[in-house]
């Protein structure tokens, strides 16, 4: 694969990933399209620009690690990893089918190139910090990136982990909150408000950056800034739009966990042409 810093190229890749997400969830007739679409620029920028990795050598010990803690958003991860060359593109539409590498939530047993099996919310940050601690113990400079859902950080374990990361000064870990403002039952602010979110993380001892999670330039700058932050971990609070890129899915709680119908797939693909 070829990594790039060119924003137009990354935007073009993002559009291709969005098409995959629509086709995959449409074919599966279930899944979580909204929270996959909101994280597209985040995951694309990481894999196609920021991460030090090599799909030819998935077990390279010095690779950067990526964990999708919000495992239900796996269509975006599968599509990006397939486009990188980790796994086949042509079988992406077997998502959620028996025996598929593209299980309903990320499952290392079926897709060994994944760094973690996730799906139960709240757990990925602890895992990332343990990995970061191991890298530091070995004197290695690889880094760990973990994407958290906004609803997910209502879990208490996230804040246990937040304290741990700051206390142990694990500065090789970057958490990205995909703050799309919607969770299963509705709007985050109505279910369990997270605000003031950046202040929460700062008060827990993290370096916090807020940005538009669909602005690739801003993401690139934030990841570069995070590399320079020493003595504390970094969190990027990425303001995103659930269902981003498809007009009738945007900001629509219905598409948290409902797949598009055949007509909706056709409509969405027309918008993403």
């Amino acid at each position: 694969m070829k990594q790039t810093q060119n924003v137009e190229e990354l935007q073009a890749i993002s559009k291709r990933i969005r098409r995959h997400i629509i086709e995959m969830t449409g074919a599966a007739k279930s899944g979580h399209p909204g929270g996959s679409l909101s994280a597209v620029e985040i995951v694309v920028t990481l894999f196609f620009d920021v991460l030090r990795h090599d799909p030819e050598r998935p077990d390279w010990p010095d690779r950067d690690r990526f964990i999708l803690s919000k495992g239900h958003g796996c269509p975006v991860l599968y599509a990006v990893m397939a486009e990188c060359g980790y796994c086949p593109v042509d079988t992406l539409k077997t998502l959620r089918k028996l025996g598929s590498p593209y299980q309903g939530h990320p499952d290392k047993r079926f897709l060994p190139v994944l760094e973690a099996s996730t799906g139960s919310l709240g757990q990925g940050l602890s895992l990332a910090l343990g990995m970061g601690a191991a890298a530091r113990l070995d004197g290695k400079d690889w880094r760990v990136y973990v994407v958290l859902g906004d609803g997910e950080i209502q879990e208490g374990q996230i804040w246990e982990a937040a304290m741990f990361g700051a206390h142990h000064k694990i500065d090789n870990v970057v958490a990205i909150v995909d703050y799309n403002k919607i969770q299963l039952d509705g709007f985050v602010k109505d279910i369990m408000d997270l605000e003031p979110l950046a202040e929460k993380w700062r008060s827990f001892g993290w370096h916090a950056i807020e940005l538009d999670g669909h602005d690739i330039r801003a993401l690139q700058a934030a990841f570069a800034q995070a590399k320079g932050v020493k003595g504390k971990p970094t969190v990027i609070i990425a303001h995103t739009i659930k269902g981003k890129g498809v007009s009738f899915m945007e900001n629509n709680p219905k598409f948290h966990g409902i797949a598009p119908t055949a007509e909706e797939v056709a409509l969405a693909l027309r918008e993403l042409a």
């Binding site: 099996s117 799906g119 602890s126 601690a133 191991a134 070995d138």
Partner: protein, 321 residues
């Protein structure tokens, strides 16, 4: 009497203390061994490791879910983490993390649960762990170890570190009688026949091994030949020893400091039912939580003494006829 010389049953260290000491030795041999703590290192004896290897010791504060997650992360990056806490806290508060981050991806974490059973005494039921065998055994791929004394603990800690895959070690707070000779060899998944016997088999784990030995001595004095098996590996269970016990003695008592529901007894019964059904009796805690008291008072009140094993042996012998 030969048997009595063999089993002096002198009080030794608690298995938690033997664990702490053994982990330091394991840490000296393998620098990939790390320790993860949730503010109980003085109680779990993880403080010994922390003192010798401060850079390989991670304090999590009172946060067991994160502790298990961090351990899984360390293991995913090639470390051999031992996460220790009271058994009830790590297994109950960390269970979901053990399930999704350790068992499901088959990660190489080692979980040490101290203060198992009711012999922790005065602290009472919120600190007691009477369902940990059931919980740990319900995790696919986990190896579940339950040593009875300091000798066995030291050996099993070393074997746990060498074993690739998740392990749960069940340890106790109370000082434990020394059952095994210093030169005894141990193997994960291989039980130890402590006495030969032809009338009844007493299968025990943890603190109940010593009680089973005491019961055996009493039964012998009454002309009953009891085989005693130390089942230190609860999962994977050694079916061959159970097969022989069922075939040769046709009566089995299982004794454990755990709820009878879902514990060693149930697992042995499953094997017996599959191989060679015979009468069985179960010594364990009966569908309740204990209370504050001295360990001795509690073990007596909740039916976990040699006397209870003897009574169970007579019941099973009666049913055998």
């Amino acid at each position: 009497m030969a048997v009595k010389t063999k089993f002096e049953l002198k009080l030794g260290m608690a298995t938690r203390e033997a664990f702490g000491k053994a982990l330091v030795a394991v840490g000296r041999d393998n620098r990939n061994v790390v320790a993860v703590d949730a503010d109980l290192s003085k109680s779990t004896f993880l403080n010994l490791f922390a003192k010798e290897f401060p850079e390989r010791f991670y304090s999590c504060g009172i946060a067991e879910a994160n502790m298990v997650g961090v351990a899984a992360g360390l293991a995913s990056a090639g470390k051999i983490p031992f996460a220790a806490s009271f058994s009830c806290f790590v297994l109950n508060k960390g269970f979901e993390q053990l399930r999704v981050l350790a068992a499901y991806p088959n990660v190489n974490v080692k979980i040490a649960g101290t203060h198992s059973g009711i012999s922790i005494g005065e602290d009472g039921p919120s600190q007691m762990s009477v369902e940990d065998i059931s919980l740990a055994c319900s995790l696919p791929g986990f190896t579940v170890l339950s040593p009875c004394d300091e000798v066995e603990t030291a050996a099993l800690v070393k074997l746990a570190a060498e074993h690739i895959g998740p392990v749960f070690l069940r340890l106790g707070r109370a000082k434990a009688p020394v059952v095994h000779a210093p030169d005894q060899t141990f193997e994960i998944g291989r039980s130890i026949e402590l006495t030969e016997g032809s009338d009844v088999t007493l299968i025990a784990t943890g603190l109940m091994v010593a009680e089973a030995i005491r019961a055996q001595e009493h039964l012998e004095s009454e002309g009953i030949s009891a085989r005693v098996i130390d089942m230190h590996t609860i999962k994977p269970l050694e079916v061959e020893a159970i097969r022989r016990a069922a075939a040769e003695t046709r009566a089995i008592v299982v004794a454990e400091e755990h709820l009878v529901d879902g514990g060693l007894g149930v697992r042995v019964a499953q094997a017996v039912a599959e191989i060679s059904p015979c009468p069985m009796e179960f010594v364990g805690i009966q569908n309740t939580y204990a209370e504050s008291g001295t360990p001795e008072q509690l073990l007596e009140k909740y039916g976990l003494t040699a006397r209870d094993v003897i009574a169970a042996a007579y019941r099973v012998l009666h049913r055998k006829q």
